[in-house]
């Protein structure tokens, strides 16, 4: 039996039309029981309720990131961080690796990520000798920040069978020294020679990654995540393990990769929605195309400077439509990664045809990222009742790459939160971590300013208010997962999930919003993170 919780003394945005802003919230048995002014709320709460005084800080319903990769974020965190500015030399990089080696079983892999040779004093890639010195008893592999180059040690090369006689694979390079010996630096497809050696993570390893990744979200005020991909039964078991143990840090709505899971789900009669408020089967998921940065998003017109390149299909359009039909008929919500405008056209065609053949109202089929659209496509999205899940943090980092690859005009309506809202389209915010960082304030700032991290504008027409940005992270995300009866608002009967920021975001200079922090994260009426105690 947990004591009740009263939050008061600051602005509380409820996301409810009736009482959009209140001064106090009372949570009992994990459920909001009263909102309003402080005395009204106290009257409904037990005398021994705990209290949190906001001191003018802003409180909102617990934030919900509708599309991110929790355990992949965790794996990235568990890897040795060798990025700048923490690491500025090969010496420092070696130190970090050897520190990790001391607590790693001999023979186990040590993985590092994030180096950039341009940020190192020596101005060169780490080589096998550097890494041999760092960890003589372990195979070591260190990713460059771009993830297209990897540096490995001798033990790793030996396990991979890479020596002076090994030819470069198609689409890859094994760097060699003046004597023809591999230096340890591998590029593109050569990376697979080493990466494929590592076994699939175990259930315990994935469980640890869920916890580490989930904690990262919680420490930024996020209580719920749309986990963007379950492929294996090991991953699903890992989620259930941490859920059962009570150590699942974030509510998780699981996107089930169709190729790997749909047959079994159909054979059991389980579809979208099975589960509880902490762990629930979400949409059936597919990938239609690639990314803008890699020039693999499928476009109507070619990429700038490459007349023959309109990107690629991750699967044949006919096969995609067939999978959509099957999942739709089996009662699933669909969630399809589609970035390029031609990919989005295809996905909308697939949804429309599936509905025509088998009308199912209220499916809330989603488009993940939904990046390159025009007004006509947006109108189509509205007509079909489709739910976009825009990458609302992307432009902060990627605006220059969009400019370079597509030209300014084509990203006019990328992540167009104002236009979506004007047309009554419910669009849920997402980070797609670890592709970009977890911090929802990046997304909020980007939605509010429409500027990238250099301050360059990315179509100011799409700016929205702080409240609307928070709506995208609460009400809209709940809607995208059929959870709006229980979550996304602070009204009596809803779950007691609250995010408290260190100040009132609405009063800040919009360009500085990312300097704010999440102070307290509350789920089911329990404080699960408090910056003051750093209760981790």
């Amino acid at each position: 039996m947990q004591p009740g919780l009263i939050i008061h003394g600051g602005p509380i945005l409820t996301m409810s039309e009736d009482q959009p802003e209140v001064q106090a919230v009372g949570i009992d048995q994990g459920m909001v029981v009263a909102i309003g002014n402080e005395s009204d709320v106290r009257r409904c709460m037990p005398a021994n309720a705990e209290t949190i005084h906001l001191n003018g800080r802003l409180a909102v319903p617990g934030l919900y990131d509708a599309h991110a990769h929790t355990f992949m974020t965790g794996f990235a965190l568990l890897e040795v961080d060798v990025s700048a500015p923490g690491v500025g030399s090969i010496e420092e990089l070696r130190q970090r690796i050897s520190d990790r080696a001391r607590s790693t079983v001999a023979g186990d892999w040590i993985i590092g990520q994030g180096y950039d040779q341009a940020s190192l004093v020596e101005q060169r890639h780490p080589n096998r000798h550097d890494l041999d010195l760092a960890a003589p008893d372990h195979p070591v592999a260190v990713w460059r920040s771009c993830h297209h180059i990897m540096a490995v040690n001798s033990r790793a090369l030996q396990l991979a069978g890479i020596d002076r006689n090994t030819p470069d694979p198609d689409g890859g390079t094994i760097d060699r020294d003046a004597h023809g010996e591999p230096t340890g630096v591998l590029r593109e497809h050569a990376i697979a020679l080493v990466d494929d050696l590592r076994s699939e993570p175990s259930e315990e390893e994935i469980a640890a990654a869920i916890i580490a990744g989930g904690r990262a979200f919680v420490e930024h005020g996020v209580v719920a995540v749309g986990e963007a991909g379950i492929r294996t039964n090991t991953e699903l078991r890992a989620y259930q393990r941490v859920w059962r143990d009570g150590s699942l840090p974030v509510r998780s709505y699981l996107m089930m990769i169709i190729e790997d899971t749909l047959d079994d789900l159909i054979n059991l009669g389980i579809s979208t929605g099975f589960g509880d408020d902490w762990l629930r089967i979400g949409p059936a998921k597919l990938f239609s195309d690639g990314s803008i940065g890699g020039r693999t998003a499928r476009m109507r017109r070619s990429y700038e400077g490459e007349p023959d390149n309109i990107g690629l299909w991750m699967m044949e359009p006919a096969a995609l439509k067939a999978d959509v039909r099957r999942a739709h008929d089996a009662g699933f919500q669909l969630g399809i990664h589609a970035i390029g405008d031609a990919a989005i056209d295809l996905v909308l065609d697939a949804y429309e045809e599936a509905q025509e053949a088998n009308p199912r109202p209220g499916t809330r089929h989603r488009i993940e990222h939904c990046s390159i659209v025009d007004l006509e496509t947006i109108d189509r999205i509205a007509r079909l009742g489709v739910v976009p899940i825009p990458g609302t943090s992307f432009l902060h980092y990627t605006r220059p790459a969009y400019e370079q690859n597509l030209g300014r005009d084509r990203y006019r309506f990328a992540y167009a939160m104002k236009t979506y809202a004007d047309r009554g389209i419910v669009a849920a915010a997402s980070s797609d971590a670890p592709v970009v960082p977890v911090d929802p304030l990046i997304g909020i700032q980007t939605m509010v300013t429409r500027k990238d991290r250099q301050g360059v504008d990315a179509w100011l027409e799409e700016r929205i208010s702080v409240e609307e940005a928070i709506r995208a992270y609460t009400v809209n995300a709940a809607y995208a997962s059929f959870a709006e009866q229980r979550r996304g608002r602070l009204v009596p009967g809803m779950v007691g999930d609250v995010t408290i920021f260190d100040q009132d975001l609405r009063a800040m200079e919009p360009d500085t919003i990312t300097s704010a922090k999440a102070d307290v994260t509350i789920a089911d009426g329990k404080v699960i993170w408090d910056r003051a105690n750093d209760a981790s």
Binding site: M1, M31, V33, C44, M45, P46, L268, G269, L279
Partner: protein
């Protein structure tokens, strides 16, 4: 969000730390407080309604921990051949005949619930008797236990059963002295026919669940375990109702190993996944048949049948393998076992599957767990097994048991008192439609051990009303690992409640059948109210 105070009558909580309270505050779907009226009033919001219980009693709602809701719902629109509806064969045939005439299609004619020991003919009906209604339209009449049934000629033909078809493993096709199939099919032989009956549509399945739900709620039952999930359309039906908020009762699903374990394992779903409405339960199998039908697997032969020791479905090695696989895949284990030999084999298999692990809170279940011995009781206790017996078997089927088993065998039949004394956790259930899900009869049978004919079946095994109530509420919750969210009246738990016309502890077990269910509350909402 609605708030209600219940007060002014008897409130029994099933919580040994606080067995009675003065008032309960329900807000939304949760119990917010169970305390003095003053304490409850202190935190109730201004708009709170107060219900004065008067002579009535408020309890946690009932959990029928072993049921078959979909066949039960279906049976409500089938011929009722139970002793409560008929006593003569010609009444059963007349009921079939009028259905045959009403609906002239060639769809199956189904009937359920006959008890040969309570029919005028004192034997099972025959295929020829069913053929007198129709030889061309398939007909199946299932015995009350669900393990035996009589098929007509058309049904046998559709199932591919001829006079020379061999008995399947774990079953029997009864034949007359000329070797002709009589129509009576036992255990797996019955399945040969059931397999060819067209499955209900998705909409029909939902209707069956709703029909079952109407009866459950009228009996104060808000939670039920579905003891036999074999096909995708069953779970899909439950889930589609849950998705629209129309699931009439909470469901815990038992998944048949041979049909489903491979797929469950391939996906990675495990026991416990789900929510308070619909949750994946154990991996289960059937190891024997029924006591009433003389197919429960026993060490000693049945009375007057020196060659009949009952049936066991699986060899020991097969049991061991299945349960080891289910346990490794993360499932709670469950097995139907009524006879002492069947129970013993299951205990051996559980030891094999669970033994290697350090003690886990496995709550492996034995469904029915009927014909126990002192050795079985010791092993149940030592292994931490959970028992799911049916006091309604004692009442509705006890007279058959008294004829089928020796006095020695019956000493520890459905031994609730021994379970209680030995600290073996248990629930109460009805196995509906095998016996009716009548809550007060279930409690009456648990506390008096009286059969329909007013005989006693192992009277030393009666338990107190308090123990019976606890098993029928908190016991079932324990059996599904949900003791933290339901089964008692305590703050933070689900507002699943029942209002009875009288305090069941006030007037002794004999008064129980006269107590009426007045109101049933599920998830904070009133879902059943008796006509006054």
């Amino acid at each position: 969000m609605k708030s209600t105070i219940y007060t002014g009558g008897s409130i029994l909580t099933s919580n040994p730390a606080q067995p009675r309270v003065e008032a309960v505050l329900v807000s939304g779907h949760l119990i917010r407080a169970a305390d003095t009226l003053e304490a409850v009033r202190a935190i109730a919001p201004p708009s709170t309604e107060t219900v004065d219980l008067g002579e009535s009693a408020l309890l946690p709602a009932f959990n029928d921990n072993h049921t078959h809701p979909i066949p039960f719902g279906a049976s409500l629109s089938q011929v009722d051949a139970s002793p409560r509806a008929v006593s003569r064969l010609d009444e059963i045939l007349a009921a079939f005949r009028s259905r045959h005439v009403e609906d002239q299609s060639d769809s199956w004619l189904a009937g359920r619930g006959y008890d040969d020991t309570r029919l005028d003919i004192q034997r099972h009906p025959t295929r020829d008797e069913l053929d007198s209604v129709s030889a061309d339209r398939p007909m199946l009449l299932v015995r009350t236990c669900g393990h035996l049934g009589v098929a007509n000629t058309a049904a046998l033909r559709l199932a591919g059963i001829t006079d020379t078809t061999p008995d399947p493993q774990g079953g029997q096709i009864d034949r007359d002295t000329h070797g002709r199939a009589t129509g009576l099919l036992r255990e797996t032989a019955l399945k040969l026919v059931q397999r060819v009956i067209p499955a209900p549509t998705a909409a029909e399945m939902r209707q069956h669940i709703q029909a079952a739900g109407d009866v459950f709620l009228s009996q104060g039952i808000t939670s039920a375990a579905d003891a036999s999930i074999t096909r995708s359309d069953q779970l899909a039906a439950y889930q589609s109702l849950a998705h629209t908020g129309d699931l009439p009762f909470r469901v815990y699903t038992m998944h048949l190993i041979d049909e489903q374990l491979d797929t469950l394992r391939s996906l990675g779903i495990q026991t416990g996944f789900g929510d308070e409405w619909l949750r994946i339960g154990p991996a289960k199998l059937f190891q024997d048949g029924s006591g009433g039908g003389r197919t429960a697997g026993m060490f000693d032969h049945y009375v007057d049948q020196p060659d009949n020791y009952g049936i066991t479905y699986y060899e020991q090695a097969e049991l061991n393998e299945r349960f080891a696989a289910a346990h490794a895949a993360g499932f709670q284990l469950a097995a139907h076992a009524i006879g002492d030999r069947a129970i013993t084999m299951i205990l051996d298999a559980y030891e094999h599957a669970l033994g290697a692990d350090s003690p886990t809170d496995h709550r492996a279940r034995i469904e029915h767990c009927g014909m126990c011995t002192p050795d079985i009781l010791n092993r149940l206790r030592d292994l931490g097994v959970f028992a799911a017996p049916q006091p309604t078997f004692v009442h509705y089927l006890g007279d058959s048991y008294l004829r089928n088993f020796t006095e020695r065998q019956l000493t520890l039949a459905y031994p609730l008192n021994a379970f209680q004394q030995d600290g073996i956790p248990f629930s109460l259930s009805s196995d509906v439609p095998v016996t009716p899900c009548d809550s007060m009869v279930n409690l009456y049978a648990a506390t008096t051990r009286k059969t329909l004919d007013s005989d006693d079946m192992a009277p030393g095994q009666a338990i107190t009303i308090e123990s019976a109530l606890r098993a029928y509420t908190a016991g079932g919750a324990y059996g599904s690992f949900e003791g933290h969210i339901k089964g008692t009246i305590e703050p933070g738990k689900l507002a699943d409640l029942v209002i009875l016309s009288d305090d069941p502890t006030a007037s002794g077990p004999e008064a129980l059948p006269d107590i009426r269910i007045q109101r049933t509350i599920l998830h904070g909402e009133t879902v059943f109210e008796a006509q006054t």
